[in-house]
Symmetry: C2
Subunit: 144 residues, 2 copies
DNA sequence: GGGTACATTGACGTTTACGTAAACGTCAAA
DNA sequence: TTTGACGTTTACGTAAACGTCAATGTACCC
């Protein structure tokens, strides 16, 4: 476990391009240190990118991911801000629960679809088997 | 429960624009009947749209959603096609399970963030309470 | 039969999330 | 010291997923 990372380190580790990583920085989702112009990513930066990609897998736009990342930072200033944050958290939670529902529904559907597929396959295979037998029979009955 | 729907029926029901619905048709995700040029959506079409929107909530691109919808149709022709489909189903399942993992991780994070928020809030509120008391004290001690 | 509401098909614009290329800087090894 | 291998910024391109008109058609209601 290293202390710092280059941009291509992270790109390779997570399977994304350096262009993407720089783009995330442009959009304010990352802010790595610099060493003579070069970006230097700390472990915290790496974690941040990891969280970012988790958001991406959930299909969220970068702007939403950004607002979630800002929750992690916890720059809670005033009461209003904190109340707004807890409210936002509640919204996220609802969205996530909805996504879970959707996933479970889809998984159930996939089960049914796969079952249908397999029964079709079994039918076809048994059909092919007999076809094969017929072919062999033909060959056996009519040797060249 | 109606038999057929107009495009605006569905738009209102699902909270999307008719433009979007037509766009989905352009991309081959829907294919409603026509009655004198007007689109007429059957209950099956409505279900299809419902599934489509479920895919959208999961953040999938329309092309992926389309391929999943085609699984539902079950136009399984040859053995190769069926095997390809079951393979695809397995991939989807993996993706969905990954998404579930991500969701659970994020939900856990949100719990922690919210707890931190609430403790901060409690601290601030108690601070305000004492501030309030001080203010009242001042008022009480120095009546105008 | 004229208005209103809803439908249609283009066509162009917009936002998001990068890809791609150009032109240039830098640093360690040969 | 030169040569890669990596890094930088700037700029333009692009694909997806619609939004936003515009021009037109049609169906029903009074």
């Amino acid at each position: 476990m290293q202390e710092t990372y280059t941009i291509s380190d992270l790109g390779k580790e997570f399977g994304i391009t350096t262009r993407a990583i720089r783009f995330y920085e442009d959009k304010g989702l990352l802010s790595p240190a610099r060493q003579g112009g070069r970006r230097t990513y700390s472990r915290a930066d790496r974690t941040r990118l990891k969280l970012l990609l988790r958001g991406k897998r959930l299909g969220w736009p970068l702007e939403e991911i950004k607002s979630v990342l800002e929750m992690y930072d916890g720059e809670q200033g005033e009461v209003q801000q904190l109340q707004y944050t807890t409210q936002k958290i509640q919204q996220r939670r609802q969205q996530l629960l909805q996504q879970k529902k959707d996933i479970d529904a889809l998984l159930a559907d996939l089960d049914r679809i796969q079952a249908r597929c397999e029964s079709h396959l079994a039918a076809l295979m048994s059909g092919n088997e007999s076809q094969k037998l017929v072919t062999e029979k033909l060959v056996t009955e009519r040797p060249s």
